[in-house]
Symmetry: C2
Subunit: 130 residues, 2 copies
């Protein structure tokens, strides 16, 4: 029973992990965070399940920072800030992409728009003091 619950679906643990953090982690960060409760987890399992969650629409990739993808369990479209100093990805919940732009975009290409993404780049509060 002990080992059973421990090994019972690491998939759930991965989803839980990404839902409980605000840092928009990469696959590697999720892997590191899970080490404590699941020391025998494989990095491949993390990648595999992140890809699955994305396909299922449970999470989304919100940015690619220095070549590594960053994920978010908040699938509602929202604005991000990417710090070039510390590679942090922050939410800007108070900002919103004007709805009208989506329609204009669809019209502009004569196709279908399924998502939009707005992100700002710069130095966060911490890093701008460096």
């Amino acid at each position: 029973m002990e080992t059973q619950t421990k090994n019972f679906r690491k998939r759930g643990a991965i989803l839980e992990c990404i839902r409980c953090t605000k840092t928009h982690p990469s696959a590697d960060m999720v892997y590191a965070m899970l080490q404590k409760d699941h020391p025998d987890i494989s990095l491949a399992t993390v990648y595999r399940n992140l890809a699955l969650f994305r396909k299922q629409g449970l999470i989304q990739c919100v940015a690619t920072v220095n070549g590594t993808e960053r994920f978010d369990a908040n699938t509602a479209p929202h604005v991000h800030f990417i710090c070039t100093g510390c590679d942090a990805v922050l939410d800007l919940p108070e900002l919103q992409v004007p709805q009208s732009l989506c329609g204009e975009a669809a019209a502009g290409v004569g196709g279908q728009v399924s998502a939009c993404q707005l992100s700002f780049t710069g130095l966060c509060g911490e890093c701008s003091k460096n």
Copy 2:
């Protein structure tokens, strides 16, 4: 003299190449396009110079599609459309990010905003007919 002019600074050719195309090419695409006039160019040279141009502000990375970076010599902030069908990156010159948002973003993080990027994802006209 012949060989001299031919070998004279491939850097210029790389910049020229990216300035003369509207497809927002990747490093690999630039490399392929240069093969004709510079069959002996190295892919590493393309990467190196693209990185340099970016640092100099001559070009910018406008998107990461399927893990590969796409560049643009138009460094003015403008909106893009990324087709998930054919991986094309298109301009949407008629759209603009409201200037007010940038200020709000800077205020939101208490830091400095150096760039912003808005992109829509979906199917382009061609692909939506598939």
